[in-house]
């Protein structure tokens, strides 16, 4: 099935989310839709899936114009969508989930689950999904849940499958599996629209790449373009993907964690007896798939979460048992994982958000009385220094883009003398330009001799920033390794990926040497030689 979008325009108020977008998806191709967060990718796909009514333009299926009044029409036309956040009922079985909304019924409206089960098995076998129709959804790993979503779409005879940021929640190995599945589907004649902002994946799987920026198609690219070319196209200017940093010059172990455990109220062990230390002037990255205790670890460092066992010292001082405020005042800088929930008060002004933790100290307050002039002056200075694009510091922070809001958080946390910086997912949801900025600041803080802990689920970020990497899996630290070994070789992605799935370091190294993943095979620098094969080559130096 050939799918064409012609001149699609969608306007939200004064914001043109899609501006005359043309897109052609040929039968049996994997078409990547590449763009930064907020570029308008999801809007376009929601138009295609019938969730939004376009203000202008038309959709053609096999050359015939169609009009979707809702997702039902889109599904009937053979379009399937796998959302970033799965639309599954946790307590249903796979077969029930697939049948939902399209229930095969026998006489008298009796649900024929065997029919659904048969359909799941058939599709699963055809593409090697290995999904048990009777498994309960909530018991399945994320990667398998995603396959259930794909089966659901295929069971409704989807010829075009839209995958919205499908790899965001997957381990590298699961991503590999997904890439394999996408290949199978393609061979079977299904077209795939693959929405992402991850360059590496695009180059690994796409047949064609359409780049969107600020609601407009800014170009088509072939998978042979280098990542730098793609990134420049996506951002609209030249960007450096690597972080320029000198080798770390670490000092003493400044921040030490010993036998730390956190147990949830319901008895679940969130952080399981972990020990590590961070030296002054080094970046320790905590890698791992989302939800393996990293969040709780970061929170326990700041004191938002109570430790149930273990010790934690900063420059020899015990931190546990102190209030959040005392830890902040002791020099702990904290960039929370969820900016909008924990980082800023969205109805407060930019200026107020910049003093959210220092509002009661000089010069912003004398006694109980705050000085709005000092708060505003501070805001002018910080926004200048951290390049926060804004109209007025008195505007609510909700008027800022994600990247600028994050800069406000950084400006606040880094404006006082730090003895430890903890940043959780500091670049999540940011555009490439802001990511660059945040990374530079993190490295600058390290070079000032501050111990830095960065929690990240993005392997690229970990590899770019870390001096040492600790991998967490199910609340434990699977292993700690240097980001660059003695010979100057960066750590193998596959080793990290396996460790993120809980494989111990030694075993991971052994397995990685036997098998190379598709993503590691991807060619970062575009010289025709897969990166993984360049290990030991002088290009990496």
């Amino acid at each position: 099935m050939k799918l064409e979008l012609q001149g699609i325009t969608k306007v939200f108020g004064s914001l043109v989310a899609n501006d005359h977008i043309d897109l052609v998806v040929e039968p049996g191709e994997i078409h990547a839709l590449l763009g930064e967060n907020g570029a308008g990718k999801s809007t376009l796909m929601n138009v295609l899936y019938g969730l939004y009514d376009p203000d202008d333009g038309q959709i053609l299926v096999d050359g015939r114009p169609v009009r979707f009044k809702g997702p039902g029409d889109a599904v009937a036309a053979g379009i399937g969508m796998v959302h970033q956040h799965f639309m599954l009922v946790p307590v249903f079985t796979v077969a029930e989930s697939v049948a939902l909304g399209y229930e095969p019924a026998g006489p008298g409206g009796v649900l024929r689950l065997d029919e659904a089960r048969r359909r799941v098995r058939e599709i699963s076998d055809r593409f090697g999904f290995q999904v048990d129709p009777d498994a309960v959804v909530e018991d399945l790993p994320v990667g398998v849940q995603q396959r259930v979503e794909i089966i659901k779409a295929l069971s409704r005879d989807a010829h075009v499958l839209i995958l919205d940021e499908p790899t965001a929640v997957l381990t590298p190995q699961e991503t590999d599996e997904l890439i394999r599945i996408m290949g199978e589907l393609k061979d079977a004649g299904t077209s795939i629209v693959f929405i992402t902002h991850k360059l590496r994946e695009v180059r690994a799987v796409a047949d064609r790449i359409t780049v969107i920026r600020r609601g407009k198609v800014v170009g088509e690219a072939s998978p042979t373009s280098t990542e730098t070319e793609l990134a420049s196209l996506m951002v609209g200017r030249a960007v450096s993907l690597t972080v320029d940093k000198d080798p770390a010059d670490p000092g003493e172990a400044a921040f030490q964690v010993k036998d730390l455990s956190v147990v949830a109220d319901n008895g679940t062990v969130l952080v399981d007896d972990i020990s590590f230390d961070v030296r002054a002037g080094e970046i320790l990255c905590i890698a791992g798939v989302q939800g393996n205790g990293q969040t709780e670890l970061a929170e326990v460092i700041l004191g938002l979460e109570e430790a149930d066992a273990g010790t934690m010292t900063l420059d020899g001082e015990d931190l546990l048992g102190r209030s959040v405020k005392k830890r902040l005042r002791a020099g702990v800088g904290f960039v929370p994982e969820d900016r909008s929930t924990d980082g800023v008060v969205s109805s407060f002004s930019i200026a107020e958000n910049l003093v959210l933790d220092l509002y009661d100290t000089a010069p912003f307050a004398r006694g109980l009385s705050m000085s709005p002039a000092k708060v505003a002056a501070n805001a002018e200075q910080r926004t200048e220094e951290f390049d926060v694009r804004h109209t007025s510091v008195q505007d609510p922070i909700s008027t800022l883009s994600g990247g600028n809001a994050q800069k406000v958080v950084l400006a606040r946390e880094m404006s006082r003398p730090l003895r430890l910086l903890v940043a959780s997912q500091p670049t999540r949801g940011l555009d490439v330009g802001s990511i660059e900025f945040v990374h530079k600041r993190m490295v600058a803080e390290r070079d000032r001799g501050t111990p830095v802990i960065i929690v990240s689920t993005e392997l690229d970020e970990v590899m770019a920033l870390a001096d040492r990497i600790a991998v967490m899996y199910r609340g434990r630290i699977v292993g700690v390794l240097d980001a660059v070994d003695e010979d100057g070789h960066p750590v193998n992605r596959d080793v990290l990926g396996l460790m993120m799935a809980g494989v111990p370091l030694d075993e991971a190294q052994r397995q990685a040497s036997e098998h190379m993943s598709a993503l590691a095979m991807a060619d970062l620098d575009g010289d025709g030689i897969p990166d993984a094969l360049q290990q030991g080559g002088e290009e990496q130096e």
């Binding site: 004064s14 109980l368 009385s369």
Partner: protein, 444 residues
């Protein structure tokens, strides 16, 4: 600073947390971040936020609409209208003119009873209605400010009623039982009332901060306790020496609020207006400073708007909850002092009337801004004062005032309803812009 939530994590089940959850834009909580249709970080306001961030225009429209609906209810209750409607199809104009007459007469009577009575003999008599409105507004403004402070912290303090009663008991006891020098006696009594209210307000604050008890339920229960407490106390010899009824001895003259317009300044004015109104103005200014210019207010607003971010920034949500409730109770205690030492000059079982509940409406109508609350209190005081004359002149039941007040709450709680009636654009779409909170303040 050292107290913390016993569970370690913020407890659910309170409005504040729900706000935090609701405030998180769906895309941003996602694993790889939002890539929604816009660049802006969206804001999902809760109902409370919606009410409080509505524009002054919405409040005014709600009042106008409520008065209009109230007008029709007045007409329905009117004898002439009902008689005329009996032969509506024969002479419909009779019904319509009767409706118009009853509505206008009722509201004109209300205006005469609350703002300016041009039929009075003296000028003092003409302006007396307005001073009456001011007298009625004192407890509404003060208790309303207390509720408003709570709203800003994300707390539904339903307990102003109980806080007023307890404050009144303490203030009255200090007022009639002791014999202190002038001025000092009044100040002691005011302070006593303030502390009484603060303690009664602080209890739910502590229970919420330490044990996660829902402040709505606790304050409602404390209201009951206060009601029975005052009934009990008024039966005790100390409060009711002659066992003459539900009234304490009169407050000592030194402990009463002096009249604002004394007889020697304007002989024969007959105003009941006392210095409690000045206290209400001062309290409004103080609350404005507290909320907008002090570190305490900064904490209260931060905790109210996003408790998770406040915690992350090192604020103690529990401590702020307690402080907020103590301030709210103290303001209710001031309201009690105005009643006991100014308007009533003794303690009665009905000292709090329904001020504690009306104050919630006042705070909502004032959108929890200090000056907004002040003018909302004045309006409600006028409705109360005007209601009496309306009842005696036009036989319209005074309950219609309650109906109007309730309609105001209803309309304010449903901004989309008012917007659709007046065909106003939804400010939340396409781009959410916060109405400048200064609009009412500026008019002050």
């Amino acid at each position: 600073m050292s107290e913390h939530n016993p569970s370690g994590r913020p407890t659910g089940s309170d409005a504040g947390e729900e706000q935090a959850v609701a405030a998180a834009p769906p895309g941003e909580t996602g694993v790889s971040g939002g890539h929604g249709p816009t660049h802006r970080e969206h804001e999902r306001p809760t109902v409370l936020h919606q009410i409080l961030s509505g524009s002054a225009l919405m409040s005014v429209l709600a009042v106008v609409l409520a008065l209009l609906i109230g007008g029709f209810l007045i007409a329905f209750a009117d004898q002439d209208v009902r008689e005329a409607s009996g032969y509506f199809f024969a002479r419909p104009t009779d019904t319509l003119s009767a409706t118009w007459t009853s509505m206008t007469e009722a509201y004109i009577a209300m205006f005469r009873g609350s703002v300016f009575d041009w039929r009075a003999d003296t000028f003092a008599g003409m302006v007396k209605p307005f001073t009456e409105s001011m007298v009625f507004s004192i407890p509404l403004i003060l208790a309303g400010l207390g509720i408003a402070v709570g709203f800003r912290a994300g707390l539904f303090n339903i307990g102003a009623q109980g806080q007023i009663i307890v404050g009144a008991i303490v203030a009255a006891w200090l007022g009639f039982h002791f014999d202190l020098p002038p001025v000092i006696h009044l100040l002691v009594a005011i302070l006593g009332g303030l502390i009484g209210g603060a303690v009664w307000g602080g209890i739910p604050g502590v229970l919420k901060a330490r044990f996660g008890a829902n402040e709505v339920i606790v304050t409602i229960m404390l209201n009951y306790i206060a009601v029975y407490l005052i009934t009990y106390i008024l039966k005790q010899p100390a409060f009711n020496p002659g066992r003459t009824g539900q009234r304490s001895p009169a407050i000592a003259a030194d402990a009463t609020y002096p009249l604002l317009v004394p007889q020697w300044l304007w002989p024969g004015n007959g105003f009941r207006l006392h210095w409690g109104f000045v206290v209400a103005i001062l309290a409004t200014v103080l609350v404005w400073w507290l909320m907008e210019r002090s570190t305490v207010g900064f904490e209260i607003r931060a905790v109210g708007a996003n408790p998770a971010a406040a915690r992350t920034a090192g604020m103690s949500v529990g401590r702020t909850t307690i402080i907020t409730m103590v301030i709210a109770g103290a303001l209710a205690g001031l309201a009690a002092g105005g009643q006991v030492m100014g308007t009533e000059r003794s303690l009665t079982a009905g000292v709090a009337a329904s001020f504690g509940f009306d104050a919630i409406t006042v705070a909502l109508l004032g959108r929890s801004r200090p000056w907004g609350t002040f003018f909302a209190g004045l309006l409600f005081g006028a409705l109360k004062a005007g209601g009496f004359l309306m009842q005696s002149l036009t036989a319209t039941p005074i309950d219609i005032v309650l109906v109007v007040q309730s309609l105001i709450v209803l309309l304010i709680a449903a901004p989309p309803l008012v917007r659709s009636i007046f065909r106003l654009p939804d400010p939340g779409r396409p781009r959410r812009r916060r109405a400048a909170p200064a609009t009412t303040e500026a008019t002050a």
